[in-house]
Subunit: 416 residues, 2 copies
C-alpha cells in the first residue's frame, strides 16, 4: 500500500484556504498550518477598525471551514523556516515533512525602513491591529471631550491616514462617517463635526491602480464626506502626535498607516530570488526555481502576467492562484506536467462611505449608489458561513437606517 | 439664577445607568463617570468566554445610551477616591464636585487572600477576562491536538471551573457543549468528547441561593451534559496546571475562577463601616452614615432587607436600587425626605446549556425547556438596543440549529 502524497499548506488566508478546499477530493493528505485559528476576511478589516463590525463577523475558524474534509488536518503553529532540501516545514516546536508545499503567508506592514514609525502610526493587517486602531480613534474623541486646552483639543480631533490605496480610502471615509454622523449628539464639550480627517498620498492621485476617472470620483466622494486629501506628499517623518508629509507638518492625535506592505519573511528561507520588496519571483506555474514541488501564492508571490504587469495584492488574485496550484498538484500526482497560471481580472472596487463606492469591471466603470450595492453583495458572497453573511448584512442595514455603529468599544486599556 | 444641583454617578453598570436614566427629566445636572466607554451586560459574559457571542453583542456605549439626555455628560475616567468632606470625586487626572453622589462601581474577583491564584485561574468580570478565558479554552484543544504524550494530552483536555454559583454552572455547561457537540468533527488526533469538565463547589450543593429541588435539577442537567460535579470541596491550592480541592488533586490544563467577588476598593475611601468582605453597610435609603447625599447601589452595597437577609449581587437588585436612589435624589431636591428601599424579588434563574435552565419565580419553580425559553426572553429584553437584541437572538437560534459557535477566535497571542 502506497501512502498518499503529503501536501502542506502554510497560511490559511484566501490563497491557502482555497487551495485546501480544491484538494478536497484529491488522493492526498493535507496539513494546513497557520499561526491563527481563523481565516480572516481582510477586505473588511477596516470596518472592525472603525467600530462597524466585530472581529468574529469577518473571521471563521479554519478547523470549522475544513471540518468535513477528512483528508485534511489543521495545525495551530508558528512556521519559522522552510527547508526545501529536506522537504520540511520547520515549526517553532517541531517539523512537518511534505511532498508538495504551498506557501501562502501573505504580507505585513512596511514602514519603508522606518520601523520606529509603527508605534505612532499603527497599520491594519490583523484583528489585534484593528482593535488597536478602533481604540485609538474612539479614545481620541473621549480625551478631546475632557481636554480644556484648545490647541491640544484640535490635535486630538485630527486624524491622519497615510496611504491612498483602498485601505486608506476606506479608513478615512469610515472615520469621517463616525465623526460627522454617528457621534454628533454624543458629546457635550466638543463638536465631533469639528474633527479633521486628512488622507495623505505620496503619488499624484488616490486609488492609483484604478482608471483616473474613478480616482477623481472617489476623491469627490471623500471630499463630500469631509475628508481633506493631500496628494504628492510622501511622508518623511512620524513622531508622537505629528506627521511630516511633503512640505507640511500636521499635528494629529491619531495617525494610521495604510501605505506599504512587506512580504512574510519566510520567503527568504526558500533561498530563491526575491523582488525588490521581498516577494518570491515565481515561475509561470507559481512554483519556485529549482523546486517544482514548492508553490507560492497570494501576496507573497511576485507573478508577472503576459502583459508584463505584476499582479496586485488582492484577494481575487490569491484565490485564483490557490485554486490553480491545487489543480497543478493533482496533475503532478497523476504524472502530468503542471500548467502555467493565467489571472482572470474580474475588476476592482473600493468603498468610500455611506452609499458611495467605485467599481471597475474593466468593461464598465460604476460609481455612487449602484457601485455601493454591488460592493456590498460581492463582499457578502465572499464571506465564509451563513451566520457571518447574515449578521454583516444585518449590521450594514442597521447602520444605514440608524446612523449608528455596533462595535463602539474601547477594549484593552485606555491609556494613550 | 440658581444652578441645578450636580449629581455624579460613578459606574455605568446596571445600577448607575438606571439611576442616570431615572434622572432624565429631573432639574439636575448629571455626570456619569466610568473607566469603560460601554455598559456591559454581565449576565451573558460567560457566553463571550465560551465563544457563543461577541463582546459588542453584550456591550453598549454609555454615551449612546444617554445621548438624548441633554442634562447628562459622560466622562471616561478612572476614579481613585471619594472625598466626602469636600464633596469631590477624585479622578486620576482631576476632580469633579457633586451635590449628590451615587457610587455604583460593583465588584471584582476575590481569591480569598490568595491573589497568586489569579494567573492560573482567571476570573470573569470584564470583556478582557472573557477573551482571555475563551483563548485558554480554545487553545487547550489546539495544543491537545498536537500533543503526543498521553498524560499531558489528558491534562490539556481537563477543565476545572471553581465555584458552583450561576457563573460557574453556566461556564461548565457551555464548555461541555463546545467539547461534546460543537467540536466533535473538528480534530483528527484527539476526540473532544474525551474532554473532562469538572465543576468544583466548596458547599454541599451548586446554586446554593436556589431552592434545593432546583439545585438537584441543575445538577442532573449538568451531569447529562457530561460535567462532573465535586461538592464539599473547598479549593486549598491552585498551581500551573493543578488544583487541590478538598482531598483531591486534579491535573487540569485550564482552570477558571467563578468563586468569590471582592467589592470595589473605592468603598474604603468613604470612611464608613464596611461588612466583612468590604461592602458598604448602607442606611435603609441606601445612603451612607453621616452623608445623606451619598448613595451606594449594586454589588458594592450591603443592604439588609426587613427579613434580615443580605440582598444578593444580582442585576435586578442593582437596577431597583439605582432607580430608587434617583427618586430619592429628586425628592430631596424638592425638600422632601428620602424613602427607605424595598426590594421586590421577581425571582432568579440560571441556564445549564442547550434547552436547559432553572427558574425560581418564588410562586412557581420551573426547569428544562420552558425555563430555558423564559431565560432567553428575559435576557433579550434586558439587553440594551435593538441591534444587540436582534443579533443575540439570531446567534442563539443559529447555534441551536447548527450546533456551532460564532466566536471561536483565539485572539491576543497563543502562548500558553
Amino acid at each position: 500500500m502506497t501512502q498518499h502524497p503529503q501536501v502542506v499548506i502554510v497560511g490559511a488566508g484566501f490563497g491557502g484556504l482555497r487551495a485546501a478546499r480544491a484538494l478536497k477530493r484529491g488522493d492526498v493528505r493535507i496539513t494546513v498550518i497557520d499561526r491563527r485559528n481563523y481565516h480572516l476576511f481582510q477586505p473588511l478589516l477596516y470596518q472592525v477598525a472603525t467600530a462597524g463590525l466585530s472581529p468574529n463577523d469577518i473571521a471563521y475558524p479554519i478547523r470549522a471551514a475544513l471540518r468535513r474534509q477528512k483528508n485534511t488536518r489543521v495545525f495551530l503553529a508558528e512556521v519559522v523556516a522552510i527547508d526545501t532540501k529536506r522537504r520540511k516545514v520547520i515549526l517553532q516546536d517541531g517539523e512537518v515533512g511534505y511532498d508538495y508545499l504551498i506557501l501562502a503567508t501573505g504580507a505585513g506592514h512596511s514602514y519603508f525602513g522606518h520601523p520606529q514609525w509603527e508605534a505612532y502610526a499603527p497599520g491594519l493587517k490583523n484583528i489585534e491591529d484593528a482593535l488597536e486602531i478602533r481604540r485609538r480613534i474612539l479614545l481620541a474623541f473621549e480625551m478631546a471631550e475632557r481636554e480644556t486646552d484648545e490647541e491640544r483639543r484640535r490635535a486630538l480631533l485630527t486624524f491622519v491616514v497615510i496611504g491612498g490605496g483602498p485601505t486608506g480610502v476606506e479608513l478615512a471615509g469610515a472615520i469621517a462617517e463616525i465623526a460627522y454622523t454617528v457621534m454628533v449628539q454624543d458629546f457635550r464639550s466638543i463638536r465631533p463635526q469639528d474633527a479633521c480627517i486628512i488622507l495623505v498620498e505620496a503619488g499624484t492621485r488616490i486609488l492609483p491602480f484604478m482608471p483616473e476617472s474613478l480616482s477623481l470620483k472617489a476623491e469627490a466622494a471623500l471630499k463630500r464626506l469631509g475628508v481633506e486629501i493631500v496628494t504628492n506628499s510622501p511622508v518623511t517623518a512620524v513622531h508622537q502626535g505629528m506627521v511630516m508629509a511633503g512640505t507640511q507638518t500636521i499635528r494629529a492625535g491619531t495617525v494610521l498607516w495604510a501605505a506599504g506592505v512587506e512580504p512574510s519573511p519566510l520567503a527568504r528561507s526558500l533561498c530563491v530570488p526575491l523582488d525588490d520588496v521581498g516577494r518570491v519571483l515565481v515561475n509561470p506555474d507559481l512554483s519556485i526555481p529549482g523546486h517544482p514541488e514548492v508553490f507560492v501564492v497570494g501576496d507573497l508571490a511576485a507573478f508577472v502576467d503576459k502583459t508584463g504587469k505584476l499582479l496586485p495584492g488582492l484577494a481575487a488574485v490569491a484565490v485564483q492562484e490557490g485554486r490553480h496550484v491545487a489543480r497543478n498538484i493533482l496533475r503532478m500526482c497523476n504524472g502530468l506536467p503542471s500548467e502555467p497560471f493565467h489571472y482572470v481580472d474580474l475588476g476592482t472596487m473600493a468603498t468610500i462611505g455611506r452609499a458611495a463606492a467605485v467599481v471597475n469591471f474593466n468593461w464598465v466603470m460604476l460609481s455612487g449608489f449602484v457601485a455601493w450595492i454591488i460592493w456590498i453583495f460581492v463582499h457578502i458572497l465572499l464571506l465564509i458561513g451563513f451566520r457571518n453573511r447574515f449578521v454583516v448584512l444585518f449590521d450594514w442595514a442597521w447602520s444605514y437606517v440608524s446612523f449608528q455603529r455596533s462595535a463602539r468599544l474601547i477594549t484593552g486599556g485606555w491609556e494613550k
